[in-house]
């Protein structure tokens, strides 16, 4: 089999980025998709494409987050689970807040992404915009509506 040379320098840089961001990205995508398989596929694919594109990517950190969410969103739609997402019941990590995941699953994609990035990744509006491709106007609207609905679903109408 022909050996394949992946450009060494970009891969090193991307590996450093992976070590910094992958865990956070995976958990954010897990919260977004409620599915460990989708989260893993999206993280692996986003970093694979980042390695291949190397220095052509201007902002690798924003790029892998955006790609990860785009890939996870595509996976969800292909599996027709965006119609009615069901949290992955086969995943039995005792730390998983299944009530939170179930509530998140009832939000539209844009609201879910904005809420996860805001509350879990501590991203401000501009950063959410960079990481999702949504405009800042859209992020604000999605965040506001998603937060209100999530609090209602979780029984907290005062927070």
């Amino acid at each position: 089999m022909e050996s394949v040379a992946v450009a060494a320098e970009p891969a090193v840089t991307i590996e450093a980025l992976y070590r910094q961001e992958a865990d956070k990205l995976w958990r954010a995508l897990f919260a977004f998709s409620a599915d460990t398989e989708i989260a893993s596929d999206a993280v692996a694919e986003a970093f694979a494409q980042a390695i291949r594109r190397g220095s052509a990517i201007r902002d690798p950190r924003a790029w892998v987050w955006k790609s990860g969410f785009r890939i996870a969103s595509g996976d969800l739609h292909r599996r027709s689970r965006s119609v009615h997402m069901i949290p992955d019941s086969s995943y039995f990590d005792p730390e998983v807040d299944s009530e939170l995941l179930a509530a998140l699953a009832q939000l539209p994609d844009g609201q879910r992404a904005a809420v996860v990035l805001h509350y879990y990744a501590d991203a401000p509006v501009r950063e959410i915009s960079r990481r999702t491709g949504m405009s800042q106007l859209s992020v604000r609207a999605n965040l506001s509506r998603g937060r209100k609905r999530l609090k209602l679903l979780l029984g907290d109408r005062h927070g």
């Binding site: 022909e2 394949v4 040379a5 992946v6 891969a11 992976y18 995976w26 958990r27 954010a28 897990f30 919260a31 893993s40 993280v43 692996a44 694919e45 970093f47 694979a48 494409q49 390695i51 291949r52 902002d59 790029w63 955006k66 790609s67 969410f69 785009r70 969103s73 119609v83 730390e95 998983v96 807040d97 009832q106 939000l107 539209p108 844009g110 609201q111 992404a113 996860v116 509350y119 879990y120 915009s129 960079r130 999702t132 491709g133 949504m134 405009s135 800042q136 106007l137 859209s138 609207a141 506001s144 509506r145 209100k148 609905r149 999530l150 609090k151 979780l154 907290d156 109408r157 927070g159």
Partner: protein, 423 residues
């Protein structure tokens, strides 16, 4: 830290898989995918093809001089509603049949990623549509003009990270947008669609979000700015082209202004304003008193006179996204309603500029969200994007009196109603 934040923090305790080896493996597979590489035999074939093409210049020239088949031209009674669909695609909705189709197909492979708010704006003759969006999946956003008669898509400027606001002059000859959110100072960029001539007007610093709108006569550009030097500004287009100082003047300052719309007759500007209302704002949407510093939907003459407050809201959630009726007598906009659980959600309202209580004309289901509305050029319909959990997003069409509500699924959220071409 509130309860919601604490619950999200628990995600940090979940174990994660190491996917680096998997990523490197996939990258290697991507490298192996077939692609064009230089080979001497291919080069010889290419040279031969080039020679053949040169020999047939006359025939090729004759072919090129033929007008390319035109994409379908809009002939709908109410004009065509178009929205940017992401990945370079444009989706079109026939307002009469509710049929949604691709006016321009998105570049494959492409997932329509979330919604695609992109400030689409038509020229007055309905032949050119300007918008901001990535020309390709994952690419940087671009200031783009779609020419309907030819189907040509022109990229007029690349955004460094994200451009904001977009409008096209009534005659379709210029576009204006705010570039470089991180630049200091930021600039208003005006580009000639055919000439490519570009003007940069530095904006007061510090500046937050900004969005321009051409006057119906094309002689001025109104601009709302959020941030330290917030307010409503006017740009004199002739002075800008002459390079004269003072092309940018402050019309209405010390307020947070956003979502500006110029009335079709050119006599009013409508915008959402936060602060500086000078009244104990009364929330007409709910009938309850609210504090000062509230938000309002404001109209003002282009010389800054005759300011009127058409509607008010809370600081957290006020009226926004005005769109004018074709007779310039009313404004449709979004403002909240509060349901029995205490949850605010957007509804579609109209208000006559000469007074009277605003009228709620469309209230979506409990968890649906609304996008920016657009009033049809013939005044018969108002279109508004709606997100529906557990279903695809789409566009709602509703009569200005709130009757005859229709839903067109599958349309992106920010509809732009094509002006009816003059006969």
């Amino acid at each position: 830290m509130d309860d919601l934040q604490r619950r999200f923090r628990r995600l940090d305790r979940i174990g994660t898989p190491d996917l680096w080896t998997e990523a490197v493996g996939r990258a290697a597979e991507l490298e192996l995918a077939p692609r064009w590489r230089f080979s001497p035999s291919l080069a010889m074939i290419a040279v031969a093809l080039l020679m053949a093409a040169l020999a047939g210049t006359v025939a090729v020239g004759a072919l090129l001089n033929q007008k390319l088949p035109s994409p379908e031209t809009a002939t709908y009674e109410n004009g065509m509603i178009v929205a940017y669909a992401g990945c370079g695609g444009l989706a079109a909705l026939d307002a009469n049949t509710l049929e949604v189709r691709d006016l321009v197909a998105a570049s494959p492979p492409c997932d329509r990623f979330f919604d695609s708010v992109a400030w689409p704006a038509w020229s007055q003759d309905g032949s050119r549509l300007a918008f901001i969006g990535p020309a390709e999946p994952d690419g940087p956003p671009s200031a783009t003009v779609y020419d309907l008669p030819t189907g040509e898509m022109r990229v007029l400027g690349q955004c460094v990270d994200w451009c904001e606001g977009m409008d096209i002059s009534p005659d379709g000859s210029m576009v204006a947008y705010v570039a470089d959110p991180d630049a200091d100072p930021r600039s208003l960029v005006v580009v000639g669609v055919d000439s490519g001539e570009t003007y940069h007007i530095d904006l007061p610093s510090p500046t937050g979000r900004g969005a321009p709108a051409f006057s119906p006569d094309g002689r001025r550009i109104a601009l709302t700015l959020l941030g330290g030097q917030s307010g409503v500004y006017l740009v004199d287009v002739r002075a800008m082209k002459d390079g004269a100082a003072g092309a940018l003047t402050l019309l209405h300052g010390l307020v947070q202004a956003d979502d500006l719309a110029w009335s079709p007759n050119g006599e009013w500007l409508a915008f959402a304003q936060t602060g500086g209302l000078g009244v104990d704002a009364h929330n007409r949407s709910e009938g309850g008193a609210i504090s000062q510093g509230a938000t309002g939907l404001v109209i003002v003459r282009p010389d800054g006179s005759e300011r009127r407050i058409l509607a008010t809201g809370t600081e957290a959630y006020g009226p926004s996204s005005p769109t004018w009726s074709s007779d310039s007598a009313s404004v449709a906009y979004l403002a909240p309603v509060r349901d029995s659980t205490g949850l605010d959600r957007a509804a579609l309202w109209t208000a006559a500029i000469d007074g009277g209580e605003p009228t709620r004309i469309y209230e979506p289901a409990r968890f649906d969200g609304l996008g920016r509305p657009a009033w049809s050029p013939d005044g018969e319909w108002i279109a508004v994007g709606v997100t529906v959990p557990e279903r695809a997003a789409g566009v709602v069409l509703v009569r200005p009196d709130g009757s005859d509500v229709r839903f067109a699924p599958g349309m992106p959220l920010e509809p732009a109603w094509q002006p009816i071409p003059a006969d």
